[in-house]
Symmetry: C2
Subunit: 205 residues, 2 copies
DNA sequence: TAGAAAATTGTACATTCATACAAAAAACTA
DNA sequence: TAGTTTTTTGTATGAATGTACAATTTTCTA
């Protein structure tokens, strides 16, 4: 999987610098405002440097989205690690999908533009799929033993969709706070679970 | 509000022709593949005609999104009209947001690209806002009397977000069927309502 | 330190696309 | 029908932008 190309130390540094610069520009100007010139300027380099370290703009974008997903995932994983009870893992999972200080319109819009780009860019679509698969897997393992397998799929689907929907509303400028979003998802889960399952879970709350 | 510019019959025809052509191209190629040349070609006209009937490409796009929203809204309204009981109006509202034969990846992707574009285009953002406001208003009136005003906001927010999330999943290539989507939203609503409210509603089911 | 390799710069080129416009065609009118 | 207005065409132009590349600077090495 990992490429066996040996890289100079400088090369690695420049590559990550450019990817991070791209990420910053992306957060501020969105995908449409993400030009090679701006990326290089943000990184404090010359416009031509990009072609030297990357095959093209797409490779930078790819690295950037991966960078972004890794950040998000690390947040979720970190929160999951500190959780002891199943209910806490639950909350951690939901909260992890609304990172503190990151549930903001510009971030939401940036994420949204990647979703839209995934429609015509197979690589983005792949990253998207991987990301969703991981989210679903996390949700599934959190629900395992509480729900019968049959309703597991529809539950993870709904919870995932609800999370995405909250981000979408945020992107659209709806004044949804982080707490509201989290509360809504948690409320949905509570509403979905059957009485006994809920009781056994809330006992650990 | 409505412009008082008097228009030739031909002018009206051409304008709607172009808007509809734009809509078709948009559905097939997404917002990024929506060029003036393609629009005119789809309408069977010369590339230059667009500038004659419209101020620019943005005006066509604006008309197209409005056209699209109107179609969606008409579907919802039509379904609402035939509904007698409150519960039926409810189902109509949910189903109306997943039009038959329209809950498909390419439509979802098209819609998504407009959402993304709304981030940088104020006019799109405005249309977006109007659309959401109307959806919320419809949801609110359907819930009126069943929920106390306090929880009304969070309920409409969650239901709206869930609907959007389903579309997003569809755009991402997730194999969500129309029935699954509708079922999920309805299930969410049932889970949200308190026991008595739900009972009174389901009595009309 | 001198020469080679690596890294960086700035620019030039090609492409895409929206828009402007002059010319041609069609429709209308007196 | 002759002249005028409306409509349509095809092309030209300019702006934005990704990418290639020759020239220059920096770093490494023997």
């Amino acid at each position: 999987m990992a490429e066996k190309v040996k890289r100079t130390r400088i090369e690695d540094i420049r590559r990550t610098e450019l990817v991070r610069a791209a990420h910053r520009v992306f957060m501020e100007h969105g995908l449409s405002g993400l030009t090679t010139a701006r990326i290089c300027a943000e990184a404090g380099m010359s416009p031509g440097i990009l072609a030297y370290y990357f095959k093209g703009k797409d490779e930078v974008l790819f690295g950037m989205v991966r960078h972004n997903n890794r950040i998000l995932m690390e947040d979720v994983i970190a929160k999951l690690k500190t959780a002891k009870t199943r209910w806490q893992r639950f909350i951690a999972l939901v909260e992890g999908n609304f990172p503190e200080n990151a549930f903001e319109p510009n971030v939401a819009r940036a994420w949204l533009s990647v979703c839209a780009a995934a429609a015509s860019n197979p690589q983005f679509a792949l990253l998207q799929t991987i990301f969703y698969r991981r989210l679903n897997s996390n949700l599934a393992s959190a629900f395992a033993g509480v729900l019968e397998p049959k309703s597991l799929r529809e539950t993870t689907l709904a919870v995932g969709a609800l999370i995405d929907g909250m981000w979408l509303r945020k992107a659209a400028g709806g004044d949804v706070s982080r707490d509201e979003a989290i509360l809504a998802v948690v409320a949905h889960i509570k509403g979905t679970l059957t009485g006994e399952a809920l009781a056994s879970l809330r006992a650990q709350e």
